[in-house]
């Protein structure tokens, strides 16, 4: 019981730690993009200021909304925070409350409420965003399942902390490299980054995640943004710990991952919505090869 409480405590501390650093990682991605585009760009701490600014502002609600609309950002933020306590990385103890599948379905809980809220404000943009989010998540989910399958075959467990790359054995294998590339592709899609979604624009033709959150303002908006930043850092941590077969400290992997996302976002355009099928199909094939090579 004591070890249980200690591990739970450690998990919670890690979640809060990731929460503190999440806006910074988003800032680093933006700074990288600005640097590559020969702009000065905003400070890497800008996202902290933005979140504080939204937190202070008033929340405007349309009269058509129901309690779901207020509940959704809270649930979304909580699921992201909980995912941050689960992901293996800095402080996770021996005991965990759920394995990789639970991790996936906790995030699905957040997505469920966000897509519901997108239909609650009774606008076309919201529904459009929600519809596209569902479409992309349908394509992403099989790839995530296969990514979990690879590591669980290799390490005989679906617990995230046991699925961390074991640097004592042979870790730089073909299978690991393929899985690493594929998970990076999946990570971009799951976190609504380019080339699948463009987090910077509010143009109705391109937006997915931004479309869903268009009706939000004030505290609720700040929760959603904080949740999204958390999700990015959680996926980067998971990517680094489980899939990058290079023996360097995890914090460095996260930093490099953020910079690479910045580079990829500068080099690529947003692709057509129905091309995403091909993009994620490629990730799926890579994972398939990785499992066969395993």
């Amino acid at each position: 019981m004591e070890t249980l409480m200690t591990s739970l405590g450690l998990n919670l501390v890690q979640g809060l730690l990731l929460l503190v650093f999440a806006p910074l990682v988003a800032g680093i991605i933006n700074k990288t993009k600005a640097f590559l585009q020969k702009r000065k760009g905003a400070s890497i701490f800008q996202e902290y200021f933005d979140i504080c600014k939204w937190w202070k502002k008033a929340t405007v609600l349309t009269p058509y909304t129901s309690v779901i609309f207020v509940l959704a950002p809270v649930v979304y933020f909580m699921t992201s925070l909980f995912a941050a306590t689960m992901v293996p990385g800095f402080l996770t103890g021996q005991f965990s409350v759920g394995d990789a599948f639970v991790f996936v379905y906790i995030l699905a809980l957040g997505r469920f409420f966000m897509t519901l809220s997108s239909m609650d404000a009774a606008t076309s943009f919201g529904g459009m965003g929600g519809s596209r989010e569902v479409y992309i998540s349908v394509l992403v989910e099989p790839a995530i399942m296969l990514a979990i399958l690879i590591n669980s075959i290799r390490y005989h467990s679906t617990t995230l902390s046991s699925m961390v790359i074991d640097y004592d054995g042979a870790y730089f294998t073909i299978s690991a490299v393929l899985a690493c590339i594929a998970f990076f592709l999946v990570m971009l899609a799951e976190n609504s980054r380019l080339p699948v979604d463009n987090p910077d624009t509010h143009l109705e033709l391109t937006m997915i995640h931004e479309g869903m959150t268009l009706e939000y303002s004030g505290k609720l908006l700040s929760l959603i943004h904080l949740g999204s930043f958390l999700k990015i850092i959680v996926f980067l941590t998971m990517f680094g710990a489980l899939y990058v077969p290079i023996n360097i400290p995890l914090a460095v992997k996260i930093l490099l991952g953020a910079i690479i996302i910045g580079i990829v976002e500068t080099l690529n355009n947003k692709m057509r919505l129905f091309k995403v099928r091909v993009y994620l199909g490629a990730a799926l094939v890579l994972l398939l090869l990785a499992i066969i090579a395993e």
């Binding site: 739970l8 937190w55 008033a58 929340t59 405007v60 609600l61 349309t62 058509y64 129901s66 309690v67 779901i68 809270v74 933020f77 909580m78 409350v97 759920g98 394995d99 599948f101 639970v102 379905y105 906790i106 699905a108 997505r111 469920f112 897509t115 519901l116 239909m119 609650d120 404000a121 009774a122 606008t123 076309s124 919201g126 529904g127 929600g130 519809s131 596209r132 569902v134 479409y135 998540s137 349908v138 989910e141 099989p142 995530i144 399942m145 296969l146 399958l149 005989h156 467990s157 679906t158 617990t159 046991s162 009706e215 004030g218 505290k219 919505l273 129905f274 099928r277 499992i291 066969i292």
Partner: protein, 662 residues
């Protein structure tokens, strides 16, 4: 012990409502429903006691000559499910079925009891004859119930389609029983377990049994009756059919797999698994395209039965690989998911009934904003939808998690590349299914309950009467209770398979699966506690900081937003329809109605039809083939008596010549 027979008797008493005097119809209805509540309660209680405190004896053990009633642990699991669903849905029906006052309500209540009686009889029958007779009564009674609103043409055709399909299934099951019974001492289940059927005929018996039971549980491609029959039936009947009757098919199939045929043949399990996986994905894909609430739920039943059968097939494969200690998790997964699907599908069919009761329509495109008119129904539907999307804290994830774990275990044991490819296929299918189910229920809930009213049928919507709310509420409470504390249910279900191996997955911490060097954990109780604490903290933070909320209409580029500008359900599923258009083959027609002006204010009409893949590619050709053959016979079958006498004479002459020559 005798509780089960008493409950059968009470069900039988409940059927007298059919001959009740018409003047006191309502009393007849209440009498019938009280009978079914009491009897189902007894069934559930005795099954639960039997499962909680295993005594080694039978739950029921009665003989009349060669006819027998017997129930073991495998039966009891389904009796428990039937009893719980029977109690809850009967409570709901007390208020819901009052809508049929003056529309043969006495018959409805009587048949309701008979339906439950036949289901229980199937589950406790101890020989092939009792089984087939009860099975047939179940089929006929459910046909009559589906056909209750016989005034509608659609209902009648759905009911007859169901009738034909279910009889094909019964025929297949009878063949399977015959094959096994003819190779054993008698047709009692105990003797049939010791049959000496081997080789090819055993495969035939397996395929017949699978065909028959897969048809009843609506696996693809045998599902076509299901999306028609469920919407046609009264909602509480759909709830019972989908929640319980489909599971009875799993019961029968399990009886065959465990007792009569054995699971030693590797490909038997593979077939079940693959058909299950395909049904799961295609079922939910079609569900996402529908706009009729009950058709969505019917296709979702195909999906969930697919998941259940795929887990069962996975267990059969593991058993055939001699991994007896591991196969328990897959069978437990199938059972747990069966129980949880019975709860959540019962709940959602009841909410569909409530929505129909409130608005008079099943079409979600006409609804919107129902959460404000009927908040409790909306809450219960939300819980059901979350469970069907297998989200945390609901029973849906418990079954889904166990299923995923059994497939992971299969993957780790799969040495040869072919099996590994199959496991990859399984995970792709389960991933697609899970995400599409989420989209499907977000779409259904979002369109019907959230946003603004899309037509004026929502204006007169109101909250439901108390019994209907109690019924739905009980299901919702059970779903959350199992979702947060799954260990009790998992422990009950796993000990049913203690004949294979004794495992202990349910612990106070949650479910822990540690088979063959593999380790995984899911402790929803702790996660729930953490979420509740976090939620309280968040709410406090939001309030403490002085939340400033302003109400204002959405900015709509200077115009007032209309409710027609919301995303429609059809529009919501458009990207998925595009992505899987090769399977769905949607047929769209856009008609321009140029009434007032060529460009401005013109009216458009959009028709969308998604034909069922198997209906077009499988059933229509078979139907055409049969009609062609029949018309070939038509030439010899003229209908005039003299020609038939001529046929008889020719036949006699042929026989005589034959006799002389030989």
């Amino acid at each position: 012990m005798d509780f089960m027979l008493i409950s059968l008797l009470i069900y039988l008493v409940g059927t007298v409502t059919i001959v009740w005097p018409k003047r006191t119809e309502l009393a007849a209805h209440y009498f019938g429903m009280i009978c079914s509540v009491v009897a189902s309660g007894l069934v559930a209680y005795s099954a639960l006691m039997y499962l909680l405190f295993p005594s080694g004896s039978w739950l029921v053990d009665t003989y009349w000559g060669s006819y027998s009633l017997q129930a073991d642990a495998w039966s009891s699991a389904f009796l428990l499910l039937t009893g719980v669903a029977g109690v809850i849905i009967s409570i709901y029906a007390m208020d819901y079925a009052r809508g049929y006052l003056g529309h043969r309500i006495r018959l409805l209540s009587g048949l309701w009891n008979l339906f439950l009686l036949s289901i229980v009889a199937v589950l406790i029958s101890g020989d092939a004859f009792t089984f087939i007779v009860s099975w047939e009564i179940m089929a006929l009674v459910s046909f009559l119930l589906v056909n209750h609103e016989a005034g509608k043409k659609k209902t009648v055709s759905a009911a007859y389609q169901y009738m034909v399909m279910t009889h094909i299934g019964t025929a297949a099951i009878m063949v399977a029983f015959y094959l096994i019974g003819s190779h054993s001492l008698s047709f009692s289940f105990g003797d049939m377990a010791n049959n000496n059927l081997n080789g090819f005929m055993k495969d035939v018996a397996f395929l017949c049994a699978f065909l028959g039971f897969a048809l009843k549980s609506g696996l693809m491609p045998l599902h076509i009756w299901l999306p028609n029959a469920h919407p046609a039936a009264p909602s509480h009947v759909s709830a019972l059919m989908s929640g319980v009757m489909l599971k009875v098919a799993l019961y029968g199939f399990g009886r065959f797999a465990f007792q009569f045929i054995g699971m030693d043949v590797f490909w038997h399990g593979l077939i079940v698994m693959v058909i299950g996986l395909i049904s799961a994905f295609l079922g939910v894909l079609y569900a996402t395209m529908e706009v009729d609430m009950k058709r969505i739920l019917a296709y979702s039943s195909v999906e969930n039965m697919g998941i259940i059968f795929s887990a069962f097939g996975c267990g059969m494969v593991l058993y055939a690989m001699q991994l007896h200690s591991i196969c328990v998790i897959a069978f437990t997964a199938a059972l747990v998911h069966a129980v949880s699907h019975s709860l959540m599908k019962g709940l959602l069919f009841m909410s569909a009934g409530s929505v129909m009761h409130a608005t008079g329509s099943k079409n979600i495109e006409l609804m919107g904003g129902l959460i404000k008119k009927m908040p409790y129904t909306a809450l219960f539907t939300l819980i059901g939808s979350m469970s069907l999307s297998s989200l945390p804290f609901t029973s849906g994830l418990v079954g889904e998690w166990l299923t995923l774990q059994s497939f992971i275990t299969l993957a780790q044991q799969a040495g040869n590349p072919e099996l590994r490819l199959l496991v990859i296929f399984a995970f792709v299918m389960l991933g697609l299914t899970g995400a599409t189910a989420l989209g499907c229920f977000v779409r259904m809930y979002g369109t019907a309950f959230l946003g603004r009213a899309r037509s004026n049928i929502v204006d007169k919507a109101h909250e439901m009467p108390v019994f209907m709310l109690v019924g739905m509420g009980l299901e919702a409470v059970l779903i959350v209770a199992i979702g947060v504390m799954p260990d009790i249910l998992v422990n009950i279900m796993q000990q049913i398979f203690s004949g294979f191996a004794v495992v202990s997955m349910g612990t106070p911490l949650g479910i822990i699966w540690g088979g063959s060097g593999h380790y995984a954990i899911y402790s929803p109780g702790i996660i729930f506690a953490v979420f509740v604490l976090m939620g309280l903290f968040m709410v406090a933070a939001l309030y403490r900081s002085g939340t400033f909320v302003r109400k204002d209409v959405t900015w709509n580029c200077g115009t007032v937003p209309t409710s027609r500008q919301q995303y429609s359900a059809t529009g919501f599923s458009k990207p998925l329809r595009r992505a899987f258009e090769d399977i769905l083959t949607p047929k769209r027609r856009l008609t321009y109605l140029r009434k007032e002006h060529a460009y401005f204010g013109r009216k458009l009409r959009y028709d969308l039809e998604i034909p069922d893949l198997f209906n077009d590619k499988l059933y229509k050709p078979i139907q055409q083939l049969m009609i062609n053959y029949s018309s070939a016979f038509h030439r010899v079958q003229e209908g005039s008596v003299s020609i038939y006498i001529g046929y008889t004479m020719i036949a006699m002459i042929v026989v005589l010549i034959w006799g002389v020559l030989l």
